[in-house]
């Protein structure tokens, strides 16, 4: 007799009261693992498909307990904590022994039904604001079966859904999410294949193809362009992106995202190198200029203004 096993997924984090990942008040679930390796990635903890542990410097009391208890001798504590990922057995001992909650665990396994239950807790807030659940990553397409099962469960329960994806994956996987997804949010960094490979490690062709295919099916898609002045902020790149949208899709709107370096500390905590240190946060003028350029090319561009006070 074969046991029917529910799909399980590895989750980095569940973020409630999120309001930048689709309409209304939302709960965003970050899946673990992404085939891209964007140099500026804001969620480095979502990149690896394996469970990981992040060390939070401001909580660590430097008692050394985790270091001395690690069965693999993978930890060393100098000025900072470093994890030798080749040695680490992912036994989780460091996390469970730390008396100061200084280790954060990324990559808890959830069955679909348990996860859906957790994600539905803010239903009252979703209903009042047109919000819902956003599946983000990591890359949801890399766990298409799990994502589809999760979204289906949420839809059955009347919860609004959104997917944040790079669109890098199999076309049929992406299209299979359409019936259970209200909104898609897809990044386009550049349409230039050489540059795309350089920045993300993967070709851009499949991404553009998938966006066109999804758009043809009438999906609600919000294109987002992370703006890094010295990388993709030039006129050539923005015009090309606009041209792609106009010629190959029905999409006529795009949001510009302001690149920032707030994620640098996460790289530190994971003993990872941060490749985007030399990049610059765009100025308000650069944001506006990029938006103007897109508008001149037939794309209604917008971006969140830098907030002063309320």
């Amino acid at each position: 007799m074969s046991e029917i096993k529910e799909a399980a997924g590895r989750i980095t984090e569940i973020q409630r009261f999120s309001y930048h990942d689709g309409p209304g008040i939302r709960t965003t679930v970050f899946l673990k693992g992404c085939p891209l390796s964007c140099v500026w990635c804001h969620n480095p903890e979502c990149r690896s498909f394996e469970a990981e542990r992040g060390w939070l410097e401001n909580r660590c009391a430097r008692c050394g307990l985790c270091v001395s208890s690690c069965p693999a001798g993978a930890l060393s504590l100098g000025e900072r904590m470093t994890v030798d990922s080749d040695r680490c057995l992912s036994c989780g001992k460091c996390v469970s022994l730390c008396p100061n909650r200084a280790w954060k665990e990324y990559g808890r396994e959830y069955a679909v039904s348990d996860l859906a239950k957790e994600l539905k807790k803010d239903r009252a807030y979703f209903e009042k604001t047109g919000g819902g659940v956003t599946v983000s990553g990591g890359e949801p397409l890399s766990r298409a079966e799990f994502t589809r099962a999760l979204l289906t469960k949420l839809k059955e329960d009347g919860i609004g859904t959104a997917v944040e994806t790079s669109a890098f994956g199999r076309e049929e996987d992406l299209l299979s999410l359409l019936p259970v997804t209200d909104h898609f949010m897809i990044d386009i960094k550049t349409t230039d294949d050489r540059l795309h490979r350089e920045l993300t490690g993967v070709p851009v062709g499949p991404i553009l193809h998938n966006i066109a295919a999804l758009s043809a099916k009438g999906a609600d898609i919000l294109i987002r362009i992370p703006l890094i002045p010295e990388v993709n902020g030039n006129a050539e790149n923005l015009t090309a992106t606009a041209a792609f949208l106009r010629e190959k899709t029905k999409i006529r709107r795009a949001e510009l995202l302001r690149f920032h370096k707030l994620a640098a500390f996460k790289y530190d905590s994971l003993s990872l190198a941060y490749g985007a240190l030399s990049f610059r946060t765009p100025t308000e003028e650069e944001m506006e200029a990029a938006a103007e350029l897109l508008r001149a090319n037939g794309i209604e561009a917008f971006y969140a203004k830098k907030e002063k006070t309320v």
Partner: protein, 718 residues
């Protein structure tokens, strides 16, 4: 300038005053006058001494009039010169300032019967006290009490008349006329009523308060409505003018404020010294607005709206106790949320949970509808109550006391049951004392007159003070404090000992005693056990069970054999800032809280466990608030979360959902951690940054370093 512009200008001046007042500025004139009065009347019976003393002070004090005053009522304040400072320090050393034992016996922390004063006027109270005195039937103590009352009310009336003369001299005949009118008759206009309230308030704040004065004016939007409407109907006043008077009222409520923060000072910084120089220097002054009413239709009360529009986020006073109902106009709610996100001192309360709680006290409907909060978030019944004692305290300490006596538990339920029985002993003893004092035959007069007695209904007729049986509703505080730490202790015990069985109760209890030094594994496990405030069903269920069990005890012990409610217990979860000091003296607890760390604050979860505001609100709203009369709940939000129109929408949804789900109270601080840190480094760039402490606002720059760190350590809810 028209009156609206004058008022706005006055608000700006008041804001500036609060920011720029020198730290050692004080009411040196008042300090010396009070000491002179004390010497002059020493030896007299206390009520007489208080009446004569107040008359002495109020007939000699300066009566500053600013050309832009719409309402009168200032007092002399300055940085003392050398000779004055020397005398001041001498008095301080001789313990003749705020420790002054008898002369002006006061303590604030009360909602005054302002509705009564507006209805009867000061003259009405003088007549009432005289009539009661003539009727007699009291022993010497009782007679002195009444004579003291007559003297005190008369001193207040004469102060009002002196102000009329001062205004006349300063070329303000209309302000003078207002004062003359209210000296001899109840106020006939909206302006007269506000003027009367401010002058009475000044008597308490500036001249009467020997100890501290935290006052609430009660439902001003409600009891002032008839005068407001009559003025508008008669064409005596416009809506804009009413707003201007209210602005000036708010300014006057702020004049006494000084620099500093009294609750968290450590005595090491000059900012902390105001407490000795002037006991009211950061006293919050509350007003209640909104909520169900027996006087008016609350849904369309135009004064609620007007006052809400005139909340000035940068003014620390008045503090607005804003009562919400499910029938409120959404626009009004949005307006209030908009003010709150600008860090106005608005404390939201939910009538839908408060009214059931107050009605269950067996008080009359009128008084239930007039429920109130006095600083800081303590429950009260407007004008009809006073605090006469209490029981309970921090639940984590109750648990530790229990564990010192007994350790053979087999379930969390059993611990809660044992805790309830231990609690019952205390409640029963306090209730017995209460019954003996307030439910037997009329007690003999104790011959003491507290300034609070002068402002409460019923005391004249009874010829007794509040604590002597003179108040209609003498109340006990039933305190269930630092709930989160207690719940987390039980959750950890339940998880580690009874469910996962990774240790015995004794092992965990022993580990707490040596601060987990020999059992870091248990510490780590305890920290990872389910926590209250994270929308975790296990922990939240314990919270509900624990609260209900303790409240059951209170309910059972506050009724007599006939089943009648005969002890009035106002149940509250507020901690003020004591949670820091209490934690400092405590051993480690079973939830993984280390020795000396603060226990949990108000309704907040244990520090560091929470990261989502919706999870927090969901957890908190599960508590049985319809059985609680007050509780404070600090929510700190990032600016980004509430910025722009969408942010305001979000804030409205957060709060309205919380209240629909049964939440009792919320008070916001909108500030980013980075901003608070920067304010410590560069205070000059953050002069307007205010934060919410137990039940009032503090200017961040004016707080001591320790207090600032305390605020920063509170979780930022994202």
């Amino acid at each position: 300038m028209n009156i609206t512009e004058i008022a706005e200008n006055n608000v700006r001046k008041a804001e500036k005053l609060i920011r720029e007042k020198p730290v050692n500025s004080t009411w040196i004139e008042r300090i010396f006058l009070m000491d002179d009065a004390w010497r002059a009347f020493e030896g007299q019976p206390q009520p007489i001494m208080m009446g004569n003393g107040l008359a002495y002070v109020l007939s000699r004090c300066s009566l500053p009039v600013d050309p832009d005053d719409l309402l009168l009522g200032r007092f002399a304040e300055k940085v003392p010169d050398e000779a004055e400072e020397a005398r001041f320090l001498e008095l301080l050393r001789a313990n003749r300032l705020r420790e002054n034992p008898i002369f002006c016996y006061s303590g604030g922390h009360i909602t005054l019967d302002c509705a009564g004063f507006v209805e009867k006027g000061i003259s009405g109270y003088i007549d009432m006290a005289k009539e009661r005195l003539e009727r007699g039937g009291e022993d010497e103590n009782g007679t002195n009490f009444l004579r003291g009352m007559v003297l005190t009310y008369t001193a207040m009336r004469d102060y009002i008349l002196r102000y009329a003369a001062a205004a006349e001299k300063a070329g303000k005949p209309d302000a003078a006329a207002v004062c003359r009118n209210i000296a001899y008759a109840p106020p006939q206009t909206f302006r007269e009523a506000l003027q009367l309230l401010i002058l009475l308030f000044n008597v308490y704040m500036a001249y009467g308060s020997a100890m501290v004065a935290c006052l609430n004016f009660g439902r001003i939007d409600d009891f002032l409505l008839p005068l407001y409407e009559a003025d508008l109907a008669a064409g005596r006043m416009t809506r804009e003018e009413a707003g201007a008077y209210f602005d000036d009222f708010s300014c006057k409520c702020s004049l006494h404020l000084g620099r500093g923060e009294h609750q968290m000072f450590d005595g090491t910084e000059p900012k902390a010294t105001g407490w000795d120089r002037n006991p009211t220097f950061d006293s919050p002054t509350y007003v209640d607005i909104g909520g169900y009413s027996y006087r008016t239709d609350h849904k369309s009360n135009p004064l609620t709206r007007l006052f809400a529009e005139h909340i000035h986020p940068k003014l620390k006073n008045p503090v607005f106790i804003t009562r919400l109902t499910k029938e409120d106009d959404p626009d009004l709610f949005r307006l209030l949320c908009d003010k709150a996100r600008q860090n106005a001192t608005i404390l939201f309360y939910n009538d839908e949970t408060e009214l059931p709680a107050f009605r269950s006290l067996g008080i009359d409907e009128k008084h239930a509808l007039d429920y109130s909060m006095h600083p800081c978030n303590w429950p009260d019944i407007s004008g009809g109550s006073g605090i006469v004692g209490g029981f309970g305290g921090p639940v984590p300490i109750m648990l530790l006391n229990l564990f010192a006596k007994r350790r053979d538990f087999s379930s969390v339920d059993e611990i809660i049951a044992a805790l309830s029985e231990q609690f019952r002993e205390e409640v029963r003893a306090v209730c017995a004392g209460y019954r003996a004092r307030f439910r037997g035959p009329k007690p003999a007069s104790d011959g003491m007159l507290n300034l609070n007695d002068v402002f409460i209904e019923g005391t004249v007729e009874a010829a007794r003070g509040i604590t002597n049986g003179g108040a209609r509703y003498p109340a006990l505080y039933g305190q269930i404090r630092s709930v989160a730490t207690a719940v987390d202790m039980l959750s950890s015990i339940g998880t580690l000992v009874f469910d996962r069985k990774i240790c015995t109760f004794d092992e965990l209890d022993d580990a707490c005693k040596d601060d987990f030094a020999s059992r870091p594994d248990l510490l780590a496990a305890a920290l990872r056990a389910p926590k209250y405030g994270t929308d975790d069903e296990y922990a939240d269920a314990i919270a509900v069970k624990l609260m209900n069990a303790l409240l059951d005890v209170i309910d059972e012990e506050t009724v007599n054999e006939k089943g009648e409610k005969d002890v009035l217990s106002l149940n509250t979860t507020i901690t003020d800032t004591w949670y820091i000091g209490q934690g400092a003296g405590m051993q480690a607890t079973h939830d993984g809280r280390r020795k000396g760390q603060p226990i949990s604050e108000n309704l907040s979860p244990t520090r560091g466990v929470n990261d989502s505001v919706t999870a927090l609100l969901n957890s908190v709203s599960k508590l049985p608030f319809r059985r609680l009369h007050s509780g404070a709940f600090n929510v700190r939000l990032r600016k980004d979360a509430v910025a722009g129109e969408e942010g305001l929408d979000r804030l409205c949804v957060l709060l309205s959902t919380f209240f629909e789900q049964g939440g009792i109270q919320a008070q916001l601080t909108v500030a980013d951690t980075a901003e608070l840190r920067d304010a410590q480094l560069h205070p000059e760039n953050h002069r307007d940054l205010t934060v919410r402490i137990t039940g009032y606002s503090a200017v961040f720059n004016d707080m001591t370093r320790n207090a600032q760190c305390e605020i920063i350590a509170r979780d930022e809810n994202t």
